[in-house]
C-alpha cells in the first residue's frame, strides 16, 4: 500500500481534529462537551427534525423486515459500536480503502460484502457495498447470454455493455469517496484476471485510495452446491424462474467463467490481498502490512461464517423490575416461560429443525442417547477435538443466551429440561438505569431537567449519572456479536429489551438514533433470518398453551 496515500489522509483527518470535541474557551476552562460532539453541527437535531428519525417511540412493526445495510451511509449517521467521530467522517487514520472481491460466482462474495458492510458500519466506518450484478441487472437487456459474464466477450455488444456497467459502478464508488465522506467501498465483482486487478489497483491508488483484494476460494464441492441452490432460489437474477431452470442457468454461468478465472498468485505479487478459503477454514494474507482497520476486517473474516440458523429474540418476563433487585419468577412468569418455550418449539419444528426432543423420546432413554444433543463421543487423540466451549458448530442446534439474573435463569428452565444448552452471560444484563431507576419520563424531566434535555437530544449516547448508555451496551456485547457470527445453528436470546434493541440494531443495521426507540413487545418472539443480500425480521406470536 502506498505510504503516500496513508499520509495524505492522515493530514486531512488531522486537520479536522480527529474527532476532537469543540473546546469551549470559557473563563472556567471546563471541558463542557462530551466525547460525542462534532465540530460542526452535523449531528441531526432530533427534536426539530421533520424526518422519520424524529418520530419518537417508533414501534418495531414500522421497521420489521427492513435491513439498513444497503441504505445510503449518510455522513451524519453514527454506527452503534462507534468509538468516536470525526468531521472528515473517516476513522483510525486509515484513509480511504477499496476492498475489491475476487472469485467465481457461487463463492459467497455477495454474502461477504454485505456482512462486512454491516460490521464496518457498526464500527462507525462509512462503508457501502457496490454489487456489479445490480448494475448489470439495471442496464442489461433481457437477451444477454453468459457471454456477458466472461472477461472478454465474443460479441461487440456484450463487450460494450460490460464496459459501461463496470464504469458506472466504479464511478459510483469514486463519488462515494469524494462526495459522501465514504471510507470503505466494497466492490463485489468477479475480477477474474490479474490484468483487471492490477488496473483496478492503479486506478484507485492514483487517487490516494488503498486497494485490498479479498479472493474467496472454495475447494469443498458441498459448499459450492449449497451456494448454487441458494442462488437459484433467491438470487435477484432468478426472480420468477423455475428452480431447476435457474439452477441450470447458474451452473452454466459458473462453467462459462471458470476457464477464464485465474487465482490470485504470482502475477498479483504487488497487490495486497487476502485469500479466504472455504469461508474461513484457511485465510492467507499477502503483503499484509495493514493498518488497524484492515486488521479488524481480517478479525471479522476469522469469525465470519455463512449463517443458516436464525437469531430469536425474546424478552424476559417483567423486566421493568428494579435494576438492583433479583427476585425469582412468579407464577405468571413461569407461565410466560412455558408458553415461550412451546411457541418456539412449534415454530422451529415447522421449519424442519430437529434439535428438540419429543416428550416421548424423553421417556425412552435409548432413543434419547442417540440424539446428537446428548451423544457423548469419546474422541481419540488422532482426531481434532471440538474447540473448547464453542457452541453452534452444528447447523441443526440451538443455544440459549441469557443474563445471570435469577428470573432469566428460571425463564430458560423449560429449555434446559429439553437438553438445550443455556449460556449465562454477564454482558446480557439490562442497561443500568443509574439515578433515574424506577422513574417515569415525567419524573425524570421534573427532577433532572438539564440532564433530561441532553438525554432527549441523544438518548443513544447519553448516560445519566451512575447509568449505562445504549452505546456502553453496544461496546460490551461486541464479543457476543462476533461469536454470534461464527455460530451456524440457531440462537435464542432472552434478555431485557435494552439489550435486544442493541442486538437488533447490529443485525438490521439500524442507525444508532433509531435503536433507543425500538419496541419489543412481550407477546412476540422476533426471528432474524440471515440472507446473503439482506437480513429479515419476523414476528412469532407467543401462544397460550396453558389454557
Amino acid at each position: 500500500m502506498s505510504d503516500n496515500a496513508i499520509h495524505s489522509d492522515d493530514e486531512s483527518e488531522l486537520f479536522n481534529g480527529f474527532g476532537s470535541a469543540p473546546i469551549s474557551r470559557t473563563a472556567s476552562q471546563r471541558r463542557t462537551t462530551k466525547r460525542w460532539s462534532f465540530h460542526n453541527n452535523d449531528k441531526p437535531n432530533l427534536v426539530d427534525m421533520d424526518s422519520d428519525i424524529a418520530q419518537l417511540h417508533r414501534r418495531l412493526s414500522d421497521i420489521t423486515g427492513e435491513d439498513g445495510v444497503h441504505k445510503d451511509a449518510s455522513s451524519s449517521v453514527i454506527g452503534g459500536g462507534q468509538l468516536y467521530s470525526t468531521e472528515s467522517g473517516r476513522l483510525f487514520h486509515a484513509g480511504k480503502i477499496c476492498i475489491a472481491l475476487a472469485g467465481l460466482p457461487g463463492r459467497g462474495k455477495t454474502h461477504l460484502s454485505v456482512s462486512l458492510t454491516r460490521y464496518l458500519r457498526w464500527l462507525g466506518v462509512k462503508t457501502h457495498s457496490f454489487h456489479l450484478g445490480n448494475y448489470r441487472r439495471a442496464s442489461a437487456e433481457d437477451d444477454v447470454t453468459h457471454d456477458l459474464f466472461v472477461p472478454s466477450p465474443n460479441s461487440k455488444r456484450a463487450n460494450e455493455i460490460r464496459n459501461k456497467i463496470v464504469d458506472e459502478c466504479l464511478n459510483d464508488m469514486l463519488n462515494f469517496f469524494k462526495n459522501d465522506k465514504g471510507q470503505v467501498a466494497i466492490y463485489d465483482a468477479v475480477n477474474a484476471l490479474p490484468e483487471y486487478r492490477l488496473a483496478l489497483q492503479k486506478k484507485f491508488t492514483d487517487m490516494n485510495i488503498q486497494v485490498l483484494f479479498i479472493e474467496s476460494l472454495v475447494t469443498d464441492d458441498a459448499i459450492i452446491m449449497k451456494n448454487m441452490e441458494e442462488a437459484a432460489r433467491s438470487s435477484p437474477d432468478y426472480v420468477n424462474w423455475d428452480y431447476d431452470k435457474a439452477y441450470k442457468d447458474y451452473s452454466g454461468r459458473i462453467n462459462a467463467l471458470a476457464p477464464y478465472y485465474q487465482n490470485m498468485g504470482e502475477k498479483d505479487a504487488t497487490l495486497s490481498y487476502i485469500k479466504f478459503i472455504n469461508f474461513g477454514e484457511r485465510i492467507e494474507l499477502h503483503n499484509s502490512n495493514y493498518g488497524y482497520l484492515i486488521n479488524k476486517v481480517v478479525f471479522y473474516l476469522m469469525n465470519s461464517r455463512i449463517k443458516s440458523g436464525s437469531v430469536f429474540f425474546a424478552r424476559c418476563y417483567k423486566n421493568s423490575l428494579d435494576y438492583t433487585k433479583d427476585p425469582p419468577l412468579d407464577d405468571a412468569g413461569k407461565k410466560y416461560a412455558f408458553n415461550l418455550t412451546k411457541s418456539l418449539i412449534e415454530h422451529v419444528k415447522k421449519n424442519g429443525r430437529s434439535y428438540f426432543q419429543d416428550e416421548e423420546d424423553k421417556e425412552n432413554p435409548d432413543l434419547a442417547r442417540l440424539r446428537p444433543a446428548v451423544l457423548k463421543r469419546q474422541l481419540s487423540v488422532d482426531e481434532r477435538q471440538p474447540a473448547a466451549g464453542v457452541d453452534g458448530i452444528d447447523q441443526d442446534s440451538l443455544v440459549v443466551w441469557t443474563s445471570v439474573k435469577q428470573r432469566t435463569i428460571e425463564t430458560t428452565q423449560y429449555f434446559a429440561d429439553r437438553n438445550v444448552k443455556i449460556r449465562h452471560r454477564i454482558q446480557l444484563s439490562q442497561k443500568n438505569p443509574g439515578v433515574v431507576a424506577n422513574m417515569t419520563e415525567d419524573e425524570v424531566s421534573a427532577k433532572y431537567p438539564d440532564e433530561y434535555e441532553q438525554y432527549i437530544k441523544d438518548p443513544y449516547h447519553y448516560r445519566f449519572s451512575r447509568a449505562e448508555s445504549y452505546h456502553d451496551l453496544a461496546i460490551k456485547i461486541e464479543p457476543l456479536i462476533l461469536e454470534m457470527e461464527r455460530m451456524s445453528g440457531d440462537i435464542l436470546i432472552i434478555a431485557d429489551d435494552t439489550i435486544l434493541k442493541v442486538f437488533y440494531g447490529y443485525l438490521m443495521s439500524c442507525i444508532c438514533y433509531d435503536i433507543p426507540y425500538l419496541n419489543f413487545p412481550t407477546d412476540d418472539i422476533i426471528e432474524i433470518k440471515f440472507n446473503a443480500y439482506s437480513n429479515t425480521a419476523e414476528r412469532i406470536p407467543i401462544k397460550d398453551y396453558t389454557a
Binding site: 468509538l83 488497524y292 449519572s465 461469536e483
Partner: protein
C-alpha cells in the same frame, strides 16, 4: 472495541504452542500475548521450556553442543523439560482455571509437535500452533543481538562468545527443522507468520478467543524500537488542584515544553539523534502545547488519548469532590479501577477505548506519546504488566520523560527528569490532599522516579 471480558463461555481453554527456530521472536510474541490478555483480565500464563531446562540441567555445560540432535544427554534433558512444562500447563488449566496457556519452545520437528498434540488432546484441548518463520537475515541478526544481551543462557558471558555460540545452536536446530505445512498440517489449527507479518496463514481458527489472539499477533512486529511517554507540562489546573478540564500550560509547563526536544535527544543518544519520531498527543490543549516545540513532522492527535473524563467532577478539586460527593469519593478510593465518575469514565473504560491505540502502537516503530496521568497509567500498565488493582495508584510525575524498550524477556525502562519543578498531582488513598506521603503505599511499590530499572 470489546471487552469488559472476553465473552464468558464455560471451560474456554486455549493452548498456544509456539513453533520456530531460535531468534525468531517467539518469546517476545509469547510474552506479549500474556501481557495483553492479562491487561484485559484474562487468566493467561507462559510456560518457557528453556527455563525448565535451565532448572534441571544444572550438572552439564549448556553451550551449542548441548543442542546437537546427536547429543543424547542434551536430548534427554530437553525432553524432560518439555514434559515438565506441559504437565505444569495442564495442571494450571485444571487447578487454577487457566484460560490461555502458552508453551514457549522451538517445537521444531513434526514428531515433537505430534507428541504435544496428543498430550493436549488427552486433556480435551485442541492446541493452536503459532509459528514464526523468518528467513530475512537482517531480522534474525537483530534478534540475535537482542537475545544474547538478555537471554539467561548467556549471563556472565562475553558478547562475542554468546553471538558465536548462539549461531551454532541455531545451526543444530536447522538440521531438524520442519516448518508448518499447508498440506501436511491442514487438519491442525495453526498460524504461520512469515518474516514477521509480510505473509500470514491462518488455518482452522475455531473460537472467538483464538481469533482475538491472532488479531493481536497480526499487529505485532519484532523490530527493535522505543516508546517514549510523557505527561503534558504542568497546567493551570494542576496549579489550582482542579482535575480534568482543558486548561493551558502554566509558565513552568511551557518551560518543560521548550526543554522536551532536548530531553528526547538525550534519550536517543548521540548515534541515534537523527531518528525520526512520530508524536501522538490527545486532543486537549495542554498536550498539544507540550508537543509544540518538537521538531518532528508527524504529529497525530488521538481522541482516545484524552484524559479520563471526570463527568460531573470535571474542573473540581479533590477537596470539592470529597465535599460534594462524599460517597463517590470513598467509592473511588475503594475500587479505583472500576469506579466510574458520575457521567464520566472509569479506568476500565479507558482500557477499552485505548485498544485501537495499543494495536496501532504495536504496529508502529518509534513513538513519543504526550498524554495524561490516567491514560499513561493504563499504557504503562500494559507495557509493564502492572496488575489492575495497582495501576490506578501508580505515581507518574510531571516533567519526566519515560522511555520503554520492549525486549524478548522484559521491557527496559529509563527516565529522564527535566530539572523544572512542578506540583505533585498524586493523590494518596483516603485523603483529598495532593502529594506523595513518606509512608504512602505509592512511593514504596510504584515509584517511577528511579533512574533505571529492569522491570519484569
Amino acid at each position: 472495541m470489546p471487552v469488559y471480558s472476553i465473552s464468558h463461555v464455560e471451560n474456554v481453554r486455549v493452548c498456544v504452542v509456539m513453533v520456530g527456530l531460535p531468534a525468531r521472536g517467539k518469546s517476545l510474541i509469547a510474552q506479549k500475548i500474556v501481557r495483553y490478555l492479562s491487561w484485559l483480565s484474562i487468566n493467561s500464563k507462559c510456560f518457557n521450556v528453556g527455563s525448565y531446562r535451565r532448572e534441571i540441567a544444572t550438572d552439564t555445560v549448556v553451550d551449542a553442543e548441548f543442542f546437537d540432535p546427536k547429543n543424547e544427554v542434551g536430548m534427554n534433558y530437553r525432553q524432560e523439560a518439555i514434559t515438565r512444562a506441559t504437565t505444569d500447563m495442564m495442571k494450571w488449566f485444571s487447578d487454577d482455571n487457566g484460560v490461555v496457556g502458552i508453551l514457549d519452545a522451538t517445537n521444531s520437528t513434526r514428531d515433537r509437535r505430534d507428541k504435544i498434540l496428543k498430550l493436549c488432546r488427552e486433556n480435551s484441548i485442541e492446541p493452536m500452533f503459532l509459528e514464526s518463520f523468518c528467513d530475512d537475515q537482517d531480522l534474525i541478526m537483530q534478534n540475535i543481538l537482542d537475545v544474547k544481551t538478555t537471554s539467561p543462557d548467556y549471563l556472565n558471558r562475553n558478547n562475542e562468545f554468546a553471538a558465536e555460540d548462539f549461531l551454532k545452536r541455531i545451526k543444530f536446530y536447522e538440521q531438524v527443522y520442519e516448518t508448518m505445512d499447508q498440506k501436511a498440517d491442514a487438519d491442525l489449527t495453526f498460524i504461520k507468520l512469515v518474516n514477521v507479518n509480510s505473509q500470514i496463514i491462518l488455518n482452522r481458527i475455531e473460537s472467538y478467543l483464538e481469533s482475538r489472539i491472532v488479531y493481536y499477533v497480526m499487529n505485532l512486529h519484532i523490530k527493535p524500537r522505543s516508546i517514549w511517554l510523557s505527561r503534558h507540562g504542568e497546567s493551570e489546573y494542576n496549579l489550582t488542584g482542579q482535575i480534568g478540564g482543558d486548561s493551558n500550560l502554566s509558565e513552568r509547563g511551557w518551560r518543560y515544553a521548550k526543554r522536551l526536544p532536548e530531553l528526547v535527544l538525550k534519550s536517543l543518544g548521540e548515534e541515534n539523534k537523527h531518528t525520526n519520531l512520530t508524536v501522538w498527543t490527545s486532543t486537549l490543549k495542554r498536550t498539544q502545547q507540550t508537543s509544540s516545540f518538537l521538531p518532528y513532522k508527524r504529529k497525530l492527535q488521538w481522541k482516545a488519548l484524552d484524559e479520563l473524563d471526570a463527568g460531573e467532577c470535571d474542573g473540581m478539586t479533590y477537596e470539592e469532590i470529597e465535599k460534594t460527593f462524599p460517597e463517590d469519593f470513598k467509592a473511588r478510593d475503594d475500587d479505583k479501577y472500576e469506579y466510574r465518575y458520575r457521567g464520566g469514565e472509569s479506568y476500565r473504560d479507558i482500557v477499552i477505548r485505548l485498544e485501537p491505540i495499543i494495536m496501532e502502537l504495536e504496529r508502529q516503530e518509534n513513538i513519543l506519546i504526550i498524554t495524561h496521568q490516567a491514560v499513561l497509567r493504563c499504557l504503562y500498565a500494559y507495557f509493564m504488566n502492572v496488575p489492575q488493582e495497582e495501576s490506578p495508584w501508580m505515581s507518574i510525575p510531571l516533567h519526566t520523560l519515560i522511555k520503554l524498550e520492549p525486549r524478548a524477556y522484559s521491557t527496559l525502562v529509563s527516565r529522564i527528569k527535566a530539572d523544572i519543578p512542578a506540583v505533585s498531582t498524586y493523590k494518596e488513598k483516603g485523603t483529598s490532599q495532593l502529594g506523595e506521603l513518606e509512608t504512602g503505599t505509592a512511593s514504596k511499590s510504584r515509584d517511577l522516579i528511579r533512574d533505571s530499572e529492569l522491570a519484569k
